[in-house]
Symmetry: C2
Subunit: 334 residues, 2 copies
């Protein structure tokens, strides 16, 4: 029998929780019975939801937490608040080694701050980073950092390359992932000093864990020619949100332009199109660099999106991501 | 009779030039006979093209330049090359006050470097910036800088706000444009030190020329709630190219998904959609901060896109953009 994967779930975070969380768990259990869920949240509320569903009941334990963190709270205020929030207790279970991974659709800033407070970093890493799954022409790429670190030096960026390549191996079975640095041009002289230093270190070091391919521009993120794209958290956040905004703008205008007849005739093709680009399929940002993995599900996703992020959790634990990161790291003085 | 607008055109820059340039001029002259064109490029080639078209012949003068700058040349090499390139001579005509504005679809880096070499900056500006026209839900916004300045301080960003607001007044008749700073969150504590300083200066100064609305995230660029979005050239370049890449990815996948029947039935609605988002309509990045305006047409645009950038030139001169910038500037010590 394969090993059980213990997932700590902050059941109260994000829109329409805990309903979407419980629906998502039910969905994921239909395909994958290896997962066991520790659900942190209001006990009564969760029990009422779960007792109707026998499959979930067998595969989960509810741990009461009276308090919760709202999306509007500042990360620091949320972290100082109380140790009785569902998010805090879920992350704490990782520290106590009761669970293998933590999943929350709640306040991103609070999740990053509390994770850093409770969990140690991997030896050699001083700045953990948030990685996104980004759809591309080939399949799905990894982009990091998305906003955990506003300012980064060359050591941080190289750590991101090592961590991102470990994630690409874990989730997409890439043997030697192709890595690129996000920049404003492809030539060696482009960009700021930190990028130039990072470029020259990566170019000269004899890395066997991944293949450094050089710079990439914003327009090439979705080309699918590289597996991992590395950038500082400021730039990564702007790029991700600009892409989301552009995608929303286009799909909204497409909907407005199509009349009822054309929708009828294009129904199946539009469905195929929507399906390929469905953001729920790429749901789950991964906080990398701590001694245990923490996954952030999009606050506004639904149960299908939440089920996808459970899949991500499952793959991360099965593939021993943390060990992969440890063995992937390269030493850089900075 | 209204005043003639003298446009210096680098006829050799960009793909399919000089053909698209001449076709674009012909198109624009049908709507607007106030423009007079000084065409810089291979005389024989240009004369052969023009003698077939009487309307252009009356409204242009050809100035021979034996050399040209290719897209592959580094900006510095291009600037050092020779003073006989079509781009150099077109910009030089601005310096000599023979023309009012310069338009090129050629090498962007070279255009920025040669413009800075030949033209003085507006009094008070030390970093000119490249501004884009960005479609949004409401109409069209201005975003700057797009890559002329990789690193910027608070004074530069405030200058960009002043210059962007002048451009918004010139092109879109906005009386008091709404300005925002691009950041990774909306709260005052978000972002790096330079953004925080810029925010506090803009918030406290009693500016009458524009309305500072605070921070904006990447996802909101296309919402149309602000007229001008200010950022450093690194971030602006990544944002613009990521948006372009996302738009291409989506439209490419949409095309792939639609079968022939659905295209037939959706033809007119898809045309409406395509029309609204046609990048040729937003063609023309404007180099702001020099004592004469320089406009960059997209290298890969066609004659319709080129005609749109001629319209931009015409509006800029008629509305006295440079004077508007001068009277818009606010003094900041940095």
């Amino acid at each position: 029998m394969s090993r059980k994967i213990n997932i700590a779930v902050d059941a109260m975070g994000g829109e329409n929780s805990p309903n979407k969380v419980i629906d998502g768990i039910e969905m994921s259990l239909k395909n994958n019975k290896e997962n066991f869920f520790y659900l942190y949240g209001k006990k009564e509320l969760l029990e009422n939801e779960i007792k109707k569903r026998s499959m979930i009941e067998k595969n989960c334990e509810i741990i009461n937490s009276d308090d919760l963190i709202s999306d509007k709270e500042s990360p620091l205020a949320a972290a100082k608040k109380s140790k009785e929030t569902s998010m805090w207790k879920a992350i704490e279970s990782l520290k106590e080694k009761k669970t293998d991974i933590c999943l929350s659709a709640g306040n991103t800033g609070a999740l990053l701050v509390i994770s850093r407070l409770l969990l140690k970093t991997i030896n050699g890493i001083n700045k953990p980073a948030l990685a996104a799954l980004w759809p591309n022409e080939d399949s799905v790429g990894v982009v990091l950092d998305l906003g955990a670190n506003i300012e980064c030096n060359e050591k941080n960026l190289i750590d991101f390359a090592c961590m991102g390549s470990a994630l690409s191996k874990s989730l997409f079975d890439k043997n030697i992932p192709k890595i690129a640095l996000l920049n404003v041009g492809l030539e060696e002289i482009k960009g700021n000093d930190i990028l130039k230093k990072t470029y020259s270190i990566l170019k000269e070091s004899k890395i066997k864990n991944f293949n450094f391919t050089g710079y990439i521009e914003g327009s090439q993120i979705m080309d699918g020619n590289v597996d991992v794209i590395v950038t500082d958290g400021f730039t990564g956040n702007i790029a991700l949100k600009t892409a989301e905004g552009t995608a929303n703008f286009i799909t909204k205008n497409l909907k407005k332009s199509l009349n009822k007849i054309s929708i009828l005739f294009s129904y199946s093709s539009l469905k195929k199109f929507k399906n390929k680009l469905d953001p729920r399929k790429y749901n789950g940002a991964i906080f990398l660099g701590l001694q245990a993995p923490v996954v952030k599900s999009h606050g506004s996703t639904d149960s299908i999106g939440f089920a996808h992020s459970i899949d991500v959790c499952s793959k991360i634990v099965k593939s021993n991501l943390i060990e992969k990161i440890e063995s992937n790291l390269i030493t850089v003085d900075a």
